[in-house]
């Protein structure tokens, strides 16, 4: 056994010196290959962790939500609908919700204005999300004013700021009392944005939903499952940005492998001839070339993955921020919990290391018939 190790080490010595002979090319290859792994691994780690987070955090979203649609657009729902829903068997409770979007010209940001179902702030007071506080540089006690639907000014004193750790779900929230909400937007009593419904028996959710749909044909019903499913395919490979990324990476992989596999240069051919002439078997030459490929691809994978992990889980994925933030002004300050899918990592490892190593070896098979006596001439 020690003979085998010793042999591999000697071959590795020579493989490294072969790579070092073409230092520039090797380092360039390593850098680019590592970069590709970095980008892919970053996207992979980020999307998996985000999906996991969404799954956990949205576990308690409303069971059933009822929206009213007019001409395909979302419209306010009347309390008569609320009464109708309450009358349906299987419904435990139904409550009207008030929430909407508020554009703040002072910050050029969109806030989600909301009346919380319980413990609403007092009149004239507001509880704001950490993102809002950041973008307006606001603290508790500060006053924020907005123009109501009729042009009058409505002011809010900041009562509390939602903890920054929850920024991922609450960064842009602006919680106010019901009276203030209606005053600001001019929504009359008896009208709500939508209705939250809880069901007596969780297994009956679909049946109840069907009943509501039958009773109120101008409504659209959203179930908890659907809400959660929305985030299952965020950053899916079919999505525009991700597809672009993936195609680019796959193309680059392919180019590298093809470059390696398409044949040996005259110099390399000469070297192999000399090696065979001094007593190396074809198997030895293949082992050498495999080690060369292995060293480069393994190094690229380890470095790329390491940097990707740090990028996503330690530094908050700053390279993805432009895509996620897009045109918005408000962006939640969050750091994902490192949930890693081992299978994905293993797959990435496999596709990084094996095709490239194999591509290194392929031209040797074809050049296996290099007659050592050719070097005599």
């Amino acid at each position: 056994m020690s003979g085998w190790f010793s042999r591999q080490r000697s071959l590795l010595d020579f493989a490294v010196s072969s790579l070092a002979r073409r230092k520039g090319k090797t380092l360039g290859l390593l850098a680019v290959y590592g970069l590709i792994v970095f980008v892919l691994a970053s996207a992979m780690l980020f999307s998996h962790a985000l999906r996991h987070e969404a799954k956990q955090v949205l576990a308690g979203t409303p069971e059933v939500l009822v929206q009213r649609l007019i001409a395909g657009r979302h419209d306010l729902i009347p309390d008569t609908h609320l009464a109708a829903i309450r009358a349906i068997r299987g419904v435990k409770s139904a409550q009207g919700r008030l929430w909407g979007y508020l554009f703040d010209p002072a910050a050029a940001a969109n806030y989600t204005l909301m009346v919380p179902p319980a413990d609403a702030p007092a009149a004239g007071q507001a509880v704001i999300g950490a993102g809002v506080a950041a973008v307006r540089d606001a603290a508790i006690g500060d006053v924020m004013s907005f123009r109501a639907h009729d042009g009058a000014l409505v002011s809010f004193t900041i009562q509390a700021i939602i903890e920054p750790e929850s920024a991922l779900v609450s960064a842009d929230l602006f919680l106010v009392a019901e009276a203030d909400y209606r005053r600001l937007f001019g929504i009359p009593d008896g009208r709500f944005t939508d209705i939250v419904v809880t069901v007596r028996n969780p297994r009956e959710v679909r049946t109840v939903a069907e009943k509501i749909d039958a009773a109120l044909p101008d409504t659209r019903i959203i179930l908890r499952d659907e809400i959660r499913r929305t985030y299952e395919s965020v950053f899916d490979w079919r999505e525009g940005m991700v597809l672009l990324l993936l195609s680019g990476a796959v193309l680059a992989f392919f180019i590298f492998a093809w470059e390696k596999a398409s044949g040996l240069s005259a110099e390399e051919r000469r070297e192999i001839g000399i090696l065979k002439a001094v007593g190396w078997e074809t198997a030895d030459v293949i082992a050498l070339k495999s080690l060369e490929g292995l060293v480069v691809s393994l190094a690229a994978f380890l470095l790329g993955y390491l940097l990707a992990w740090l990028h996503v889980f330690q530094w908050g994925a700053p390279l993805f921020e432009p895509v996620l933030k897009g045109w918005s002004v408000l962006y939640p300050d969050f750091r994902l919990t490192p949930h890693v899918d081992e299978l994905q990592v293993a797959t990435l490892f496999f596709f990084t290391v094996f095709p490239y190593t194999l591509a290194n070896v392929v031209p040797i098979w074809r050049a296996a018939t290099v007659d050592p006596d050719q070097v005599m001439r």
Partner: protein
Amino acid sequence: MTMRSSDMVLAAMLAASVAVGATWVASAWRVRAEQPEVLRRAALVEQLGLTDLALFTEARYTRHPSQSDRHAAFQDHPFALEHFPSGSVLPPRRQP
């Protein structure tokens, strides 16, 4: 140059592998450590009746993708092309 080049390479690979292994350990540790935080977020979601992550605050249908329907993206204009970057990372809602 007393160290063989193969030894140097093996040492470097080992170091990198150890570092990658460390990320595994760090992941496991942080998952456990950050669990209370995650639970607090989940509690807030339940308490306020939230339906979406506050990730994409550019437009209404990107801020609440679970609440928007297929028409939402075209509210402004029937032939509206997607001009929000986040719209390209979130798929349209699949009908159940």
